[in-house]
């Protein structure tokens, strides 16, 4: 061989720590940007990333991946696949791109923070590639939906959503800022790459890719599976930090970062991915239920990854397992009811056949969530449309920024976890969200939820119209039922008989 193998020189390329002389170590690596935890530079040098890739390999492999994803798109551009796809599926795409594309770009900033402030040289190199990956994910997930902007104004939100005060955008910003954009290099490693990317992006990208393939959307399927191959490399940036933290007596801190990130990710996914998988994806294309995906990717795989690294299951594990059964049904009901406040058209997913599927996947659904949908269905069939719309804003949680809700019916649990701090009462949807706040109140205390802003008079006029204006939502882009309420027709006969 006339050229060296990668591993002949790879270690040299990540032997780059030096002792600063003209500035102090803390000036070069400010503890609050680096996440030093009092651990000196040389202790971080044992960092060993499991997924190794060199620069020349990177540009080659990534060039090939892009060639693949862009050529699938080009080949299918004239296929009318998009035009012919189910309106529920279009809603999946709109919600996904709006919530994800620019947050992926923002993740490149967090990767850049690790590339600059990480104290482990291997982490800095891997994060340099991660920074590139996330630029890819931002750019490609803007390029693909841009194809549709001239057909449907809601696709403008693939770019626009994160500039607005739309409530789901506020929730997404609060969560993503908290787990990566506003964190230090060590926290980003643990919270973004380990907790979020090994757990949740797997589910979003592989789960949705499976549904997309079932739905015949090869463009989206190949796009997001291609993205996932990058994630599975840079998601491994965080893991090797854990033994370093544990060896230096910081196990508790490591555990806490992961517990915070996992809880926060769960809440956002319950409003974003849950409805997509169990309600928007056409019934015949649903590969698994959201709960099944959660059980596979989070409960089983993530739990194993945690234990393998010598950490524990989060303290709230039982609550999480409980919420997996119901939380996203409530989120879905809320999103559908407040549908003018989102940039996609929520699919009700409540036809007789879909309800039978829900009952099978979530025994007891008909007796609980089904009761609410019965009322909505009756109003739709009776033409009482006004009663299927909200007049006010829901109570939202001061942590996840999402509507506080719980399973209706006999087992109804009042869900409010108030907490007083410095004379202000905060409302939380769950013990988990309240616990996150208590870990670091200064981090969250001055933030106003949408409802807090409403009560403070920042939203004028103080009605739904004023709220929509505040959220940058105008007719032509505000959400409505994806199927123009056709799903309710299946109940008309039944309802006639009953009356």
């Amino acid at each position: 061989m006339a050229t060296l193998e990668r591993m002949d020189w790879y270690d040299l390329a990540r032997t780059t720590n030096w002792t600063p002389k003209y500035v102090t170590e803390d000036e070069l690596f400010p503890p609050q940007m680096s996440g030093t935890f009092g651990i000196p530079l040389e202790k971080w040098e044992s960092y060993d990333e499991p997924f190794k890739q060199s620069y020349p390999e990177y540009v080659k492999v990534q060039r090939e991946k892009d060639a693949g994803a862009y050529s699938v798109k080009a080949a299918l551009e004239r296929s009318k696949m998009f035009e012919n796809s189910d309106p529920g599926w279009k809603s999946v795409l709109k919600a996904h791109y709006g919530a994800i594309a620019r947050q992926e770009y923002q993740a490149s900033q967090a990767e850049a923070r690790m590339a600059r402030f990480g104290k482990a040289p291997g982490q800095r190199n891997m994060a340099t590639l991660g920074m590139m990956d996330e630029i890819r994910h931002g750019q490609i997930q803007l390029f693909f939906p841009h194809e549709h902007v001239s057909k449907d104004r809601q696709f403008d939100w693939a770019h626009k959503a994160m500039d607005t005060n739309e409530w789901a955008a506020i929730a997404a910003r609060h969560m993503f800022d908290d787990i990566f954009a506003a964190r230090n290099a060590t926290e980003i490693g643990l919270m973004l790459t380990f907790a979020f990317e090994t757990g949740f992006t797997n589910m979003q990208f592989l789960g949705l890719a499976a549904d997309a393939a079932e739905a015949g959307d090869w463009t989206f399927s190949s796009l997001i599976s291609s993205i996932q191959t990058d994630e599975s490399r840079h998601a491994q940036i965080g893991g090797p930090l854990i033994p370093i933290l544990v060896a230096n007596g910081k196990k508790e801190e490591a555990q806490k970062m992961i517990d915070v990130a996992l809880w926060r990710s769960w809440k956002l996914f319950s409003v974003l991915t849950g409805p997509m998988m169990d309600y928007y994806t056409p019934l015949e294309h649903r590969k698994q239920s959201f709960k099944e995906f959660m059980q596979e990717w989070i409960v089983t795989q993530f739990e194993r990854a945690l234990l393998d690294l010598g950490l524990e299951k989060p303290w709230y594990w039982e609550q999480l397992l409980d919420e997996i059964d119901w939380q996203h049904h409530g989120m879905h009901l809320g999103v559908w009811f407040w549908r003018p406040t989102v940039w996609w058209d929520p699919a009700a997913g409540a036809s007789p056949e879909e309800r039978a599927w829900l009952e099978e996947k979530y025994p007891g659904w008909n007796d609980t969530w089904g009761q609410c949908w019965d009322v909505i269905t009756k109003n739709v069939l009776d033409g009482n449309m006004a009663q299927t719309y909200p007049e006010t804003l829901p109570v939202v949680c001061n942590m996840c920024q999402l509507p506080v809700n719980a399973t209706p019916g006999n087992g109804w649990r009042v869900r409010d976890y108030p907490h007083e701090h410095n004379g202000r009462v905060y409302h939380f949807c769950s013990e988990g969200c309240k616990w996150v706040f208590q870990q670091d109140p200064a981090r969250y205390e001055g933030h106003l939820s949408l409802v807090d802003r409403f009560l403070a008079g920042q939203i004028q006029p103080m009605d739904l119209g004023g709220a929509l204006k505040y959220m940058n939502l105008a007719p032509g882009e505000i959400g409505d039922d994806a199927h123009k309420y056709a799903w309710a027709e299946g109940f008309r006969e039944r309802m006639k008989k009953a009356s």
Binding site: Q32, V59, R63, R116, G138, Q139, D177, A474
Partner: protein, 329 residues
């Protein structure tokens, strides 16, 4: 809401739609991507006084370098991720081809032990220097006020890893022909102790801690990188050619092509910045502050370089020629 108009689909993103020109792929995927620069909002959707909000407000938003619309910045190369990889995969195939051919011809065996010693002292320790460029570019990538700027800085960070990788590769390869020169072993010692490197080390340690984004941009792009490119790349390349090290000369040429591209975006940003009052003065002030340190770095490095006449003087002149070429200053 009955008299409100109903929004119609547009041909592109609403933020680009008012312009006449059809947006390029570059503009569709690169413009206005920052979330942390929403007008009137905190950088991050958390408590306004949390550490990282203060950091961004102080070091980015309150920088002396100010412009009403940083999002107007465009990379003159219109590079996007997809095209960056096409370009750099080609460039790496070329460099790997050089490594392959020169190895085949036993290039290193033809180098004098003396020159090998120079390489161990003045070439392979450069990976530490290139790594500081990688880190500093990553800082600019996270602190710049517009995504079009951040993306240029991020690509530059990846290019710095490229230079570092070539240097690590050669350190290993040279160690096989010259096992007694300390290749792959003594680089850190040279970087931390040899007089030739101390100017560069001091320069970059200090540039890395210039946390105001505007000052970081000026110190890195207009002062430090030109100094490094002219001395540690170009002048070392000249010395290499003189000493029969054709390979190093060619590898450095390939790296300098990245450097030329970096100067293109930096020049375009200076031009945009100088549209707004006060910025030219701020930039000049920072150049005046950092130039002496960069000159000393060039002096100490070039003093150790064999066989290049007037190396330091000509490198310093070249950095000034670049700065004189900047429109708006």
């Amino acid at each position: 809401m009955s008299n409100t108009e109903v929004l119609k689909p547009l041909k592109t993103w609403s933020h680009l739609a008012s312009r006449r020109r059809k947006p390029s792929e570059y503009e569709i995927v690169s413009t206005n991507l920052h979330i942390s620069t929403r007008p009137g909002a905190e950088p991050f959707e958390l408590d306004p006084n949390v550490f990282i909000n203060r950091w961004y407000k102080e070091k980015r938003d309150a920088s002396p370098l100010k412009h009403p619309d940083w999002n107007a910045f465009r990379d003159p190369d219109e590079l996007i991720y997809r095209t960056y990889n096409m370009m750099q995969d080609g460039a790496e195939t070329y460099v790997m081809g050089l490594f392959d051919q020169f190895n085949e011809r036993e290039h290193d065996k033809g180098l004098s032990p003396n020159w090998a010693g120079t390489l161990a002292r003045l070439y392979t320790p450069g990976r530490y220097l290139f790594h500081t460029l990688q880190m500093c570019s990553a800082y600019l990538a996270q602190m710049s006020p517009a995504s079009t700027i951040s993306i240029c800085a991020a690509f530059q960070g990846a290019d710095s890893l490229r230079w570092l990788s070539h240097t690590a590769y050669r350190a290993k390869e040279l160690s096989q022909t010259f096992p007694d020169k300390g290749f792959g072993a003594n680089e850190r010692k040279y970087w931390e102790e040899d007089a030739a490197w101390q100017g560069m080390r001091e320069l970059m340690e200090k540039v890395l801690t210039a946390y105001d984004w505007g000052e970081c941009f000026v110190a890195l792009e207009l002062v430090a990188k030109p100094a490094i490119e002219e001395a540690v790349l170009r002048k070392l390349g000249e010395a290499a050619r003189h000493n029969g090290d054709t390979l190093l000369g060619l590898v450095i040429d390939a790296e300098l092509a990245d450097g030329v591209r970096h100067r293109r975006w930096a020049s375009a940003l200076v031009k945009l910045a100088c549209d707004a009052p006060g910025n030219a003065e701020a930039i000049k002030g920072w150049i005046a502050k950092w130039e002496p340190l960069a000159d000393r770095a060039i002096d100490s490095f070039c003093a150790a370089l064999p066989d290049v006449a007037d190396a330091a003087e000509s490198a310093k002149q070249a950095t000034r020629a670049f700065r004189r070429s900047l429109i708006g200053l």
